[in-house]
C-alpha cells in the first residue's frame, strides 16, 4: 500500500518560494502565470492492506513529524 501525503502552507502564511517561482516564470515570458505556491509530497510505502488503519496511522505521522501544523496543512491519499 502507498500513502501520498500532500503538505502545503496554510492559507495566509507567506510562501516565499512560490512567489519567487511565479516571478521567475514571468521573467521567462510565461505571462499566463498569475501566482504560484510550493508544497511537498511525501510518498510512503506501507505494510498491510487496511486502508482505514493506514490512514489513521499516517494522520498520526503527520501530526508528529511530517507536517509542521503551526504553518502547514496536509491531505492524505491512500492507494492500494
Amino acid at each position: 500500500m502507498k500513502a501520498i501525503v500532500h503538505i502545503g502552507l496554510k492559507p495566509g502564511v507567506l510562501d516565499p518560494q512560490g512567489r519567487a517561482i511565479a516571478r521567475s516564470l514571468g521573467d521567462l515570458g510565461f505571462s499566463e502565470v498569475t501566482g504560484a505556491r510550493q508544497g511537498k509530497v511525501i510518498e510512503l510505502d506501507m505494510k498491510g492492506n487496511d486502508a482505514e488503519k493506514a490512514k489513521a496511522s499516517v494522520i498520526e505521522m503527520c501530526e508528529k513529524l511530517l507536517a509542521n501544523t503551526v504553518i502547514e496543512s496536509y491531505k492524505i491519499d491512500i492507494e492500494a
Partner: protein
C-alpha cells in the same frame, strides 16, 4: 588578467570572490549584474560565485541559471572562455548544462561549514597546474546541497577522462565517488562545492586556494 564576477540577487559570496581575485591578479574585478545580457569581450575569466541566489528557492541555482547573463555565459564558455563556479556557482553551472550532473541535499540533511581536506586528482589542468604536484589541499566548505549526483556512465566518463579535479577526503555530503570538483570536456569550465576563494588569506581560511587562481593566471 581581467576577471569578472556575476552578481545574482542574493548570491552572497560575490564579495568573497572579488576579494580573492583582486588579491591574486592585483587588478580590479568587474561585477556583472544578472540582468545584463553580455559579458564584456575583454574579460579573461569569470567566476560564478557561491551563496544563495534567489534564496535557493525551487532548486539551488535553478533560477539563476535561467537569467539573461547566464545565456551569454553559456555561449562564451562554449567558445572557450574560462569559467569557475564555487558552491552555488557550481550548482548554477550544472543547472545551466555547462557541467554534467546535479547537486542534491547533503546526505545528513544539514548545512555543513568546515575546513575540508581535498585530494587533487588531476594536477594537469588550467585550474590545478600551479600546485606543482601537491596532493592535498584544505578549502572551506559551506553548503546545504553539495551532494554530487550523476548517473554511473557519466561518473565513469568523468573519472576516465581526468575531468574529476578534486575528491573529498572524508566525504562531508555524500557526493558520488567522493567527487568534489569537475570540469567540462574542453577543460575551460570548472565547478566545485568547496571555496578556494575563501582560502587565500592566512587570517581567514588558510592559503591553499591561492594556487588555484595562480593556475588560471599562469595558464593564460
Amino acid at each position: 588578467m581581467k576577471t569578472a564576477v556575476i552578481q545574482f540577487p542574493a548570491a552572497n559570496c560575490d564579495r568573497d570572490a572579488i576579494t580573492a581575485l583582486e588579491k591574486i591578479t592585483g587588478r580590479e574585478s568587474t561585477l556583472i549584474w544578472h540582468r545584463e545580457t553580455e559579458i564584456p569581450e575583454d574579460i579573461d575569466f569569470v567566476v560564478v560565485p557561491g551563496g544563495f541566489s534567489y534564496g535557493d528557492y525551487l532548486r539551488c541555482g535553478a533560477m539563476a541559471a535561467r537569467s539573461p547573463i547566464v545565456n551569454d555565459l553559456v555561449k562564451k564558455a562554449n567558445g572557450g572562455l574560462p569559467v569557475a563556479g564555487f558552491c552555488n556557482g557550481f550548482q548554477i553551472l550544472c543547472e545551466a548544462g555547462l557541467l554534467p550532473g546535479a547537486l542534491l541535499r547533503n546526505k545528513n540533511l544539514k548545512f555543513v561549514c568546515k575546513p575540508q581536506k581535498l585530494k587533487i586528482t588531476n594536477g594537469n589542468t588550467r585550474f590545478t597546474s600551479a600546485y606543482g604536484g601537491q596532493q592535498e589541499v584544505v578549502y572551506p566548505v559551506a553548503h546545504h546541497d553539495g551532494n554530487y549526483y550523476a548517473d554511473d556512465a557519466t561518473l565513469s566518463k568523468l573519472e576516465k577522462s581526468g575531468r574529476v579535479l578534486f575528491k573529498y577526503v572524508d566525504n562531508p555530503n555524500g557526493s558520488a565517488r567522493d567527487i568534489a570538483g569537475i570540469c567540462n570536456e574542453d577543460g575551460n569550465v570548472f565547478g566545485m562545492m568547496p571555496h578556494p576563494e575563501r582560502a587565500v588569506d592566512p587570517l581567514h581560511g588558510g592559503t591553499d586556494g591561492i594556487n588555484f587562481f595562480k593556475s588560471i593566471l599562469e595558464s593564460r
